[in-house]
Amino acid sequence: MSIHSFTLVVAVFWSGLVTAKAEAIPPSVPVFIKRYCIDCHNADSEKGDRNFESLITSRTSKGHHETLKEVLDQLNLGEMPPRKNSIAQPSNNERREIVAILSDYLKTMEAGKVPYATIMRRLTRYEYNYTMRDLLGVDTKAADATRFFPADLKSHGFSNYGPAQALSDVQLQHYIKAARTYLDRALVFGQQKPDVQKWIFKPKDLPHEKKNVGTVRYRVISADGKHLDIGHGKPSESGPTYPKEFAARGVPKDGLYRISVKATAVGRNHPYAPELIPADLTQPLQMGLWHVPGLSYLAKRTSEGRVLVEVFDLADNKPQTYEATVWMPAGSSPFVHWINGIGATKGPLQKIIQRYYPEAKRKTPYEVDRLKEAGLPVPKDALVQKVWISDLYKGPRIRIFEMSIEGPFHDQWPPLSHQGIAGTETNASNLNVEQVLLKFASKAFRNPVKLEEITQYIDYFKDQTAKGVAADEALKQALTAMLTSPRFLFLDEGGEDGGKQLDEFQLATRLSYTLWCSTPDERLLNLASKGTLSQSKILNSEIERLLKDDRSKAFIKRFSDAWLRLDKIGSMPPGTKQFPAYFSDRLESAMKNETYYFVSHLLQENHPISKFVDAPYSFLNGALARHYGVNGVAGENFTKVQFPPKARRGGLLGHASVLTATANGVETSPVTRGVWVLESLLGTPPSPPPPDVPPIEPDTRGAVTIREQLTKHRHVAACADCHDKIDPWGFALEFFDPIGGLREHYPANKERGTGKGRRIDGSGKLPSGEHVRNEVELRELLVSRRVQLTRNLTCKLFLHATGREPDYRDYKVINQIVEKSISEGNGFRDLIHMVITSELFSRR
């Protein structure tokens, strides 16, 4: 909730394009509706807010088009009529027949009306960044030039869905600026290869103190100056440790730098009572390494723009050199931090002083004043610190011996990013600019461009240089313009006619944006120019090549984010008191990574689709394993963990990412989770709630459970229709708290998430009549619905790949793919092949 004032709200709407012709509805349709639907969907009961009476009396489809489409969808899915004893069911033949008639009718109605084609898509923010990385050969992680782009609008999680996308003048201006930023990064006109330098920092060059009395931060240098102990720390820290003088200027040039830190962990086995040290010492002590593009990013309360390079698990009492090589823009500087530390040192240290080292306690001026006021004797040296906690402390710390930066490394000069555009020439005046622009345009616009198509850019360059603008500047301007052109920003799949075959270059583009979320590489464009990419043997081998390439990580991440709605994570963070580990253990990124590793594994090993919901393993790091109560995993790296049979985890339903994305950070809602199962797994999203029905208002006074609230809700018939279909799926997941931790009881103290409240009841009756009691039974049930799972995944893959929502005109092909997939082992990798080689993929 937020307070706005003077708000100007800008909203963009997509109006439907359907204007169906009014033609007679085939007579069998009203007959069918009268027989099987009207008892519930009439003017009196309007179940699900649907009334079909006028459909029966109407002669034309005028005004009924959308309703008929819904009817068809429901029949196709077998959801309607509901399978209850009292409700008459059409025979399979009747069902098939009416589906065929309705499909044909709607198809005729819509011929030429609704675009049966992808609406032209603009690159999403993430596609833009991946494209820049691959097209220009630049790093886009540090000082991300798209940081201030307006957020992409999404349709059910997918931001590459053309109809939902918008463009504004603000976005256009950001495109100009971002292109220029990345071009400046790529091109090195007039520059010499910079010399490799090495900067070595000793403990005295880092922020430090010689003694510590138990303050918020603890950075103590040893007497001989050989090491620095860092005793405070948490993931988001305002006291980073960095080379102080160096950071004022940072590295002199853009480039690759090797950052080395000689360090060790000390004091993981400490002599104090364990509860005094608020850190998980079953895990190795971890040192985070970041870099920031400028000193201002090291100020308190800044975190945006810091790049986390790596988290190192430190060996205990064994100094080692930890290093990472990373691209940094000029002015950058690295810093390290104890990332899984004890937070501020003051609290724990004061307790330790009190209990173990009373001699290190000194009176505060305040206490001295109190003594004086009371007329008590004040020792002469009351304010003198005689013993320092830093000389006695044996608690956990990370110990730094040395830090160094070396670089910038360039294995070639000019760098590949420059060569990709201008070859080895670093004097822009010597370039054949026509050729440079022509070559660049063909790559950027993803198809061969003729000279006459880019004359305006060439003329601009000539005009500018004639006016005295330097050649490199004029060239960068022309290139910036190309990267702002709609031919670059939009995926041009051309042509007036829907359903038209894509040409080879369009196919190459669609393929690479599907599996890399980025621009096609040279090999794909070569195959396209030979005209052989569409040959099924070559297409299949290219799919394999793209999937094996590192760039396909983008597919795993972006597709999972959209399909499983992981993009919602982080928008409603949990309470810090209720779920401290969420922050201290950086669970947010860990849980997303679990899902990415899992999806990637199923893809690599071509596992059957049912494994998505029921796999006896997952991928965990130390923090996540602790969150799940799994033993034997420590440290930052993810490893495959095998679960025992019938374990509570296993499959997406046990992933903390999914369970967090479907809660609001504070409490769970079976409705939200139920909708997620229906939408993301089964592909049968419930209809939105009818207007004027108030949402559930949680009343947590006393111990009223969400189940009781929902039961009340379901007493209202209008609600019951849908909620009977939604809630049972979600109830079975109630054993997982808002961040996916297991629980048997609701917490008694909601605020702190502690204590045993009411016992959780996960039981429910699905509309199909089946009962489930918990997530294990739910999993089994979902496995038995593999046709539906496969169908949904196929549709989601199509949506991701084509930016178009598949509709009934695609169902024939989709059903064929589902059947084929199931008869051939139902492998995920195979399914991706089937989707990409299908006629739907290669059609506009």
Binding site: I3, H4, S5, F6, V9, L172, G494, T576, P694, R701
Partner: protein
Amino acid sequence: MLFQPTGQGELSSLKKANQQQISILDLVESDARLLKKRVGIEDREKIDQYFTSIRSLEKRLTQSAAWLDRPKPKVSYSLPNEPNEMDFVDRVPLYYDLATLALQTDSTRVISLEFSDLGPNSGGFPVTRGYHQLTHHGKVDSYIKELSIIERFHTKQFGLFLDKLTAIKEPNGKNLLDNTMALLGSGMGNASSHSNKNLPLLLAGGGFKHGNHMRFEPGKTPASNLFLSMLQRFGLDTDTFNRSSGTLTGLETV
């Protein structure tokens, strides 16, 4: 920077960048025309959106070129040291100070101010829970009590802001609030149930007749009607906004 003069060097590079952006827009326009010829009917809407964006950006760049030459207003106001280090409760009044100055000096005609998170130290409020957590109060008294502390604060600060505007005389003899529409509100009518209906909205100034609580039949009057009334009052020639069904019935000018 609202009130700090721009240096000569920076000014000329800003102007240059402005000019460059305008010429880039000229360049890409012909590509847009080329594309428009090739693509399908529905895609042309996308290209038209692109053209519209070019036009508005050109207009904005031309406007800001004029702004660049306008001297920055001189104000006798200085921010305290390290305002970002201050607690939320101490920072909020500063935003309103800046908003007042910006309106007073005609540095802008539109300001939007959004507050959400409280930041560290509970924002300086005597509360023990996070703002988001409190909004899910579940009717628990202790939650509602803490939530009220925060929301009373916001309402009070808004009131103080209105006082400031009232105290400033404008050349037309009216005060600054008479010439400014100030709207306070929230995107949630009831955050506990996550309902965006029945939004709390408080409008002041702008030469409207005020002083009463306007109630509307549930579900009949979209909030957009108010926004449409405001846009028209602002001088925009438009008769729809979002889901508006007209201007707000009963909202009249003085």
